[in-house]
């Protein structure tokens, strides 16, 4: 049930809105004979509904391979979804992107593979100068100072500007990627694992920086992370994904305090805790996205699954207090 865009009581238009978004990749059919070109569809996103309000911060967490990066690629307009609608300020993202530099300047991205996203033949200074020039952010004479300022913001020494990506450690490369993303002074930052692989004190520097940009300048954040502590510190809202679907959303604190989807609960329980034994793995095999389980796609591993879970496919339904869950037997608070 979507409101018409100009209804008088329409809520503020979200920055991003995904409506029943699907992304299907054609992949080689398992076991196909050599030289055969037979393919099957892999549903990396399957009926994803999500809206991101201006100035909010959203954490996207979930199973590896559940479609988080694919979702960000759709948000950025890098991939056109194979089904559903993906809107940026009410317009299809593809159109917004094609219409010139506005979108590209407004929406910045930090890629999961930070090293792969930087040109190895360019110095760090040149890498950061690129968006500065492309979007005319500073006059040429102010460029060097701005680069130094951006490097300092992400905790790199000024002389890093003369180095090449190959001369930097994994964490340093990640900081360069963040500095480049901030260079265009975006109003939306979409970040894929932007702080994973950093030591906790550098992470603290970046997270406090992002939080102040978010609070003071109204930066909208969509932040993929595996670290629930990071999600809880930085993001007001959380979306938890499993096998191409969002299975639970809501305010981060409430969701992490009392998750209602059994997968969210498993994720919550697996977060590392000092000197506790490592958590028990979820039972069962991780299903193949090429051969999705019938009914609820978590049913093959769900500790509270009942017989109807194998036949009914639960949709994301509202719970109140801004929360929603896709589960037939959600966990009720004890």
């Amino acid at each position: 049930m979507t409101l018409p865009p100009h209804a008088p009581d329409a809520p503020v238009q979200p920055i991003f809105e995904l409506i029943e978004v699907e992304q299907v990749f054609e992949v080689p059919k398992p076991g196909r004979p050599l030289f055969s070109r037979e393919t099957v569809g892999l549903r990396a996103l399957d009926g994803v509904r999500l809206s991101i309000r201006k100035g909010t911060s959203l954490a996207i967490v979930g199973e590896s391979g559940s479609g988080k990066s694919t979702l960000l690629r759709v948000l950025l307009g890098l991939d056109k979804p194979s089904g559903g609608r993906a809107l940026y300020r009410g317009k299809p993202i593809g159109e917004a992107r094609a219409r010139g530099t506005g979108f590209a300047r407004d929406v910045a991205m930090v890629y999961q593979d930070a090293r792969g996203s930087l040109d190895p033949r360019m110095t760090i200074g040149a890498i950061i100068a690129e968006p500065l020039r492309h979007f005319n952010i500073v006059p040429r004479e102010g460029e060097a100072a701005r680069i130094a300022q951006l490097l300092d913001r992400v905790g790199l020494p000024a002389d890093a500007a003369e180095r090449f990506p190959s001369g930097l450690s994994g964490g340093q490369v990640r900081r360069v990627a963040i500095a480049r993303a901030l260079a265009s002074e975006p109003s939306v930052l979409v970040a894929d694992e932007a702080v994973s692989g950093l030591d906790v004190s550098t992470q603290a520097q970046l997270l406090t920086l992002l939080q102040s940009l978010q609070r003071d300048m109204g930066l909208t954040l969509a932040f993929i992370t595996h670290d629930l502590g990071v999600a809880s510190y930085l993001c007001e809202e959380i979306a938890i994904m499993y096998l191409g679907r969002i299975v639970e959303t809501g305010p981060t604190d409430a969701v992490l305090k009392a998750p209602v989807h059994p997968y969210s609960a498993a994720l919550r329980a697996a977060a590392p805790q000092f000197f506790e034994p490592l958590s028990e793995p979820l039972p069962g095999e991780i299903p193949s996205p090429l051969d999705l389980p019938k009914g609820c796609r978590f049913s093959t591993r769900c500790p509270v699954a009942q017989s109807d879970c194998q036949s009914k496919d639960p949709q994301l339904g509202k719970l109140g207090s801004g929360r929603a869950v896709a589960c037939i037997h959600p966990i009720t608070q004890a």
Binding site: P30, E63, S169, L228, L267
Partner: protein, 328 residues
């Protein structure tokens, strides 16, 4: 994982003595001293850029043009730095193996992941093509790759980041190494699969009494999975010892700083430390943390504090050590 498997009478499996690495004029590692007992798991933690990967890659002797000094002693082989490249080629994948930090970059983009794993199996285990394929599917299953048969024919770019990482784990375990170097093997994985992979690595290494070095950033995960911890800052070991001592009774100001930045679920206030690591050109000759240390004394910047045991009497190489002139 609190039981210590170390028999103090056994000599360490691996001992680094004054390991120093230069790249050009930059001293990337500065007199690193570390030991690892048989069957033990050691976590290397610390500042990004501190040299954790450099230590692991130095042990593999894959540092290329960097200048390496000191010794890297592996039980039964002597100083690895004295071996010929041919001898090293034999050790890699068999006695030593490594899971590299950038899984995406470590995999060859033009071969299927199945082929990359089978090749390793044929080379290190002498398996036939058919045997290697069968074993590869088993290994993919054991690291939690769904549809392992189908994924044999996938190219790296067709896999999610987390799946690429699991492929790397499978390749590293293929040769059943005595010492596994795992450079952030789970940074890209969700926490349920992280726990599964760390368990898997620990089970597979412990089953054969193998030792393991983990490079990690998550101190809570280190406490759950490692017997000992070494904390690095700018190329120096600043504190090392049993996990509990280092995490709960740490004495070095940098370890204290790290601990204060740990985010747990529900943490809402975070005070980020000031400043950054000095560039190599501006590195103080003494304690490298002195430019940011709240407890620094006048002598700290000029005189390097040695890594010494906290309890001087009868201290072994595996006990709690610290390098600081003014510990907490």
């Amino acid at each position: 994982m609190t039981e210590r498997m170390t028999d103090m009478a056994l000599p360490p499996v691996l001992t680094l003595r004054d390991l120093t690495v230069h790249r050009g004029a930059a001293k990337i590692l500065d007199r690193v001293n570390l030991s690892l007992g048989q069957g033990e798991t050691l976590a290397l933690v610390g500042e990004s850029g501190a040299g954790k990967s450099t230590i692991a890659v130095a042990i593999m002797r894959l540092l290329g043009t960097a200048k390496v000094a000191g010794t890297i002693e592996l039980a039964g082989e002597g100083d690895l730095l004295a071996l010929t490249e041919r001898q090293m080629v034999k050790l890699r994948g068999q006695r030593l193996s490594m899971i590299f930090q950038d899984a995406g970059a470590a995999l060859n983009p033009s071969y299927t992941v199945g082929r990359q794993l089978s090749t390793t199996l044929r080379r290190t285990q002498g398996l036939s093509t058919a045997e290697a394929r069968k074993r590869a599917i088993e290994l993919f299953t054991s690291v939690g790759i769904n549809d392992p048969e189908g994924r044999m024919s996938a190219f790296p770019h067709q896999l999610s980041g987390g799946m690429q990482q699991r492929v790397m784990v499978a390749i590293a375990l293929a040769g059943s190494p005595d010492l596994l170097l795992a450079d952030e093997p789970t940074s890209a994985l969700d926490v349920t699969i992280q726990a599964q992979i760390v368990r898997l690595i620990l089970t597979l290494t412990r089953e054969r009494g193998a030792s393991c070095i983990f490079v990690l950033h998550d101190l809570a995960l280190a406490s759950q999975s490692c017997d000992r911890i070494a904390v690095l800052y700018a190329g120096q070991v600043v504190e090392s010892g049993p996990a509990h001592d280092v995490l709960e009774h740490h004495r070095h100001p940098y370890t204290q700083q790290l601990k204060s930045c740990v985010l747990e679920i529900g943490t809402k206030t975070l005070t980020a430390p000031e400043g950054t690591v000095p560039s190599h050109a501006q590195m103080p000759p003494g304690c490298r943390f002195s430019t940011r240390c709240p407890r620094a004394l006048p002598r700290c910047a000029g005189e390097a504090p040695p890594l010494v045991p906290l309890r001087a009497t009868a201290a072994g190489p595996l006990d709690h050590h610290i390098a600081c002139w003014n510990p907490e």
